[in-house]
C-alpha cells in the first residue's frame, strides 16, 4: 500500500516535471565563437512555447559571461544597423520565435573566458511561468575551418 502511494506520488511528480520541460522547447541553439580577448558574443536559437498558456522570457544568464541580455539588430533603409534591448520577450502559446544572426540574439556581455576551442556554452533562460530552462549551446566558429590561412 505504502509503496503504491510512493509510486503514485513519484509518477505525478515526474509527470509534472516532464510536462513542465515540454512547455518550452529550445532548438538549434548555438553561440558564436569570437576571437580571444573579445568581450562580446551572441547566442541564437529557436524558442517554442508549446504550453497552452502564454509565457514570457524574463531573464538570461550564462557562466561564461558577466551578463546576458536579449537584443534585436535592426537595419534601416539607409543600411544603418542599431540594436534595441528587449527586456521581456512575449511567447504566445503555440508560437516559435527565432533568434538568428542579424536579428534577435542573446548578447553575451563581458566574456569571462575565450570561447575558442570550447564545445558548448550553458545558457540559463528564465521564463515567467515555465521557470528556468538550461540550454547547452554548441560554440560555432565564425570562420570556416580553413579560415585565417587563406592566401
Amino acid at each position: 500500500m505504502g509503496k503504491t502511494i510512493i509510486a503514485l506520488i513519484l509518477f505525478f511528480v515526474l509527470a509534472q516535471f516532464s510536462f513542465a520541460q515540454d512547455n518550452i522547447v529550445i532548438s538549434d541553439a548555438w553561440v558564436r565563437e569570437v576571437p580571444p580577448g573579445t568581450s562580446m558574443s551572441a547566442g541564437y536559437m529557436t524558442i517554442e512555447n508549446k504550453a497552452k498558456n502564454d509565457d514570457k522570457l524574463i531573464g538570461i544568464s550564462s557562466d561564461v559571461a558577466e551578463s546576458a541580455e536579449l537584443h534585436i539588430s535592426k537595419v534601416d533603409e539607409n543600411g544603418v544597423a542599431t540594436m534595441e534591448m528587449i527586456k521581456i520577450l512575449d511567447l504566445p502559446s503555440g508560437e516559435a520565435i527565432e533568434l538568428k544572426p542579424g536579428g534577435m540574439h542573446i548578447m553575451l556581455i563581458g566574456l569571462k573566458e575565450s570561447l575558442v576551442g570550447k564545445d558548448s556554452v550553458r545558457l540559463n533562460l528564465n521564463f515567467e511561468k515555465s521557470g528556468e530552462v538550461k540550454v547547452e549551446a554548441p560554440v560555432k566558429s565564425s570562420r570556416s575551418p580553413t579560415g585565417g590561412h587563406n592566401h
Binding site: 558574443s41 543600411g79 544597423a81 540594436m83 542579424g102 570562420r143 579560415g147 587563406n150
Partner: protein
C-alpha cells in the same frame, strides 16, 4: 543593275559588321553599369584615406590599386552584425580560390576609443589573416566615415554593455580604378553571389 546589287549587299554586310562591333563595344563599355550585379550599383569616387592597421603601420587606399577592395565599418564590441559580416567576408575570399589574392578586405573601426591597434591585432586576423583592420584618431575616423557617407553614433543604452554603436553596416566594393562601384546591404550578404560580382570585375 548587277553591280548595284553587289554594292547593296556589300553595304548591308558592312552595316551588319558595324552593328556587331557596336554591340561588342557597347558591352565592354557598359559591363559595369549593367543592373544584373548582385550588389546595388553605387558608382561614387572612393576618396583616399590613410589610417593605422593592426600592426601599427600606416595604410592608404592607394596601397591596393590593383585589387578589388571590400570595405566596411564596424567595431569589435559589436556582438551580432560585425562578426557575421567578417565571417561572410571570409567566405567570399574562400569562394574566390585562386583569385583571393586580388581582393583586400578592409575593416575600419568606428569605435577608435576602444578599438586600439592591439585590439584589432587580436581580433581581425582571427577571421582571415589577410584581412586588415584600421583605426585612427576620432577625427581621422570621422573624416573617412564622412567621405564614405557612413553614419555612426554612440548609443548609450540601458544595457550593461557600456555603449553600443549604431552604424552603417553595408560593405562597399571598390574597383581597382578607385570607384565605389557596388554596395552590399545586410540583406545582400550571400558570399557566393558577392564572389560572383568580384569575378566579373576582375
Amino acid at each position: 543593275m548587277k553591280r548595284r546589287n553587289v554594292f547593296k549587299i556589300l553595304i548591308s554586310i558592312l552595316f551588319l559588321i558595324l552593328i556587331g562591333w557596336g554591340i561588342i563595344v557597347y558591352q565592354i563599355i557598359d559591363i559595369k553599369s549593367k543592373a544584373d550585379f548582385y550588389g546595388s550599383v553605387y558608382e561614387r569616387e572612393a576618396l583616399s584615406f590613410t589610417l593605422t592597421d593592426q600592426n601599427g603601420s600606416k595604410v592608404s587606399l592607394s596601397d591596393f590599386k590593383d585589387k578589388v577592395v571590400l570595405l566596411f565599418f564596424g567595431y569589435t564590441h559589436c556582438p551580432d552584425v560585425c562578426p557575421m559580416t567578417l565571417s561572410i567576408m571570409n567566405n567570399v575570399v574562400e569562394e574566390l580560390g585562386d583569385q583571393a589574392d586580388q581582393v583586400q578586405v578592409l575593416f575600419i573601426t568606428i569605435d577608435p576609443q576602444r578599438d586600439t591597434v592591439a585590439k584589432l591585432k587580436s581580433y581581425i586576423p582571427y577571421y582571415n589573416e589577410s584581412f586588415i583592420g584600421l583605426t585612427g584618431t576620432p577625427e581621422e575616423i570621422d573624416k573617412v566615415a564622412d567621405d564614405y557617407n557612413i553614419f555612426y553614433s554612440k548609443e548609450e543604452v540601458e544595457s550593461v554593455s557600456g555603449y553600443l554603436m549604431g552604424h552603417n553596416s553595408s560593405v562597399l566594393l571598390i574597383t581597382p580604378d578607385g570607384e565605389i562601384f557596388l554596395r552590399y546591404t545586410q540583406n545582400r550578404m550571400d558570399p557566393v553571389s558577392i564572389a560572383g560580382d568580384i569575378k566579373r570585375i576582375l
